[in-house]
């Protein structure tokens, strides 16, 4: 089955073979360029350096073993969204897709939080391992032609996070929590920094909403429909920006 297109090939320092911008790739990225791009010698592909500039890579060698390119990194990456996402840890397979999705949308700060309705077993999932998280973030960046890796932090304790860490995080931002029974609609096109909290399937419990409200959050809704986390996240972000 065809994979989603890799709109930018994300490069890491260890891909470079010299100081002049020559890179050598194998594995997933080579396979993708062979199978999907079907590139030829001399073709220019969109590339970017992780946490650095974007630009082009001219193919100088391409066979079943290796892809070599001369790269020129002459553009700054797309602007990030001024959004801090606080997400109750979703089911592992949903988490993978949500990480990819928010990475592609330009979110750079993500906290995965415990909540009453988060199944305890989710915290033991291998999907939460740093390599697995990073893989999804990279796929999101490649999708949207970005290079800046988001930071993902795990917060398995709700109360100390909300009481001790959250007041500092929300400073100079609009703190809102998605809550299907809220009276206020989610604001549109806010043009400012937002801290957005999203509960688990089934929602935050009243105690959790109360704690967030006490911290300064406003509950907001997007209509009467209860959406899944993977639908609600892009819908909320797109409404805000």
């Amino acid at each position: 089955m065809q994979e989603a297109p890799l709109n930018l090939i994300l490069l890491f320092p260890e891909d470079f073979t010299d100081q002049e911008g020559r890179v050598r790739l194998s594995g997933r990225r080579l396979k993708h360029v062979l199978d999907v791009h079907r590139a030829s010698l001399g073709d220019e592909l969109c590339v970017g350096l992780a946490n650095g500039n974007i630009g082009t890579g001219r193919v100088t060698r391409l066979d079943e073993q290796v892809l070599e390119m001369d790269v020129l990194l002459d553009h700054i990456p797309l602007p990030a969204l001024p959004l801090t996402l606080i997400l109750a840890l979703p089911r592992p397979k949903v988490l993978r897709r949500v990480l990819r999705s928010v990475s592609s949308m330009g979110v750079k700060k993500i906290f995965l939080l415990n909540a009453f309705r988060v199944e305890k077993s989710y915290w033991d999932s291998p999907v939460l391992g740093p390599e697995s998280v990073r893989e999804q973030l990279v796929l999101g960046l490649e999708q949207s032609r970005d290079t800046i890796l988001p930071e993902v932090r795990l917060r398995p304790l709700f109360k100390p996070f909300v009481e001790d860490e959250l007041p500092g995080l929300i400073k100079d931002t609009l703190p809102i929590v998605a809550h299907p029974v809220a009276s206020a609609p989610c604001p549109r096109d806010v043009k400012r920094a937002v801290t957005l909290a999203i509960g688990p399937e089934g929602g935050f419990i009243p105690y959790e909403i109360d704690k967030l409200v006490a911290c300064g959050f406003t509950p907001v809704q997007m209509g009467e429909r209860v959406l899944s986390v993977e639908t609600a996240v892009p819908a909320l972000i797109s409404r805000l920006y």
Copy 2:
């Protein structure tokens, strides 16, 4: 692994055992009520009749074999979105998730269209079978507590659809096509009927955009980021409504 919650149990005429609103369920819905709701005798669950009202079902029998409820269907369902979605046929596994997502958001008219960058093999996928499509639509309705099944129509020929059928479909709607390199931003909060066309991964080709423009469509974008279909669809719908 836990499934997403079934926020409404969708009922069909064949589930009813008498004229007085008694239903008998087994299979997926019984299993879900046992495993996730962990319901007991006398509990009231949210139910809805396919293409009919929503209401409550009081559990009168629940064991490993069968769930019986007395149902009262006394509320009309949530309003539909006045949106016709024309979607270039995505990869099968993406299609499943997109059908569920748009069904949960209240879209009722969906056309799956061929386009140059749609892989031919996608049209042979079992995911396009009526039972498989319906399964995803039902999951979306159960997620968002809706009952009205969307209509999904397959249009494997681009040109005759755009030339012969589309002019009638877009009447009295705002016809827009998502196109990452468009100059106009996607409008917000339009408060009117929209026909929204979304291309395949990689986008519609210029010929296809030209045909849609000739039919009356305006190309719109959501920023410089290229989003995957499954992220772009909820993001676009949430921006429009």
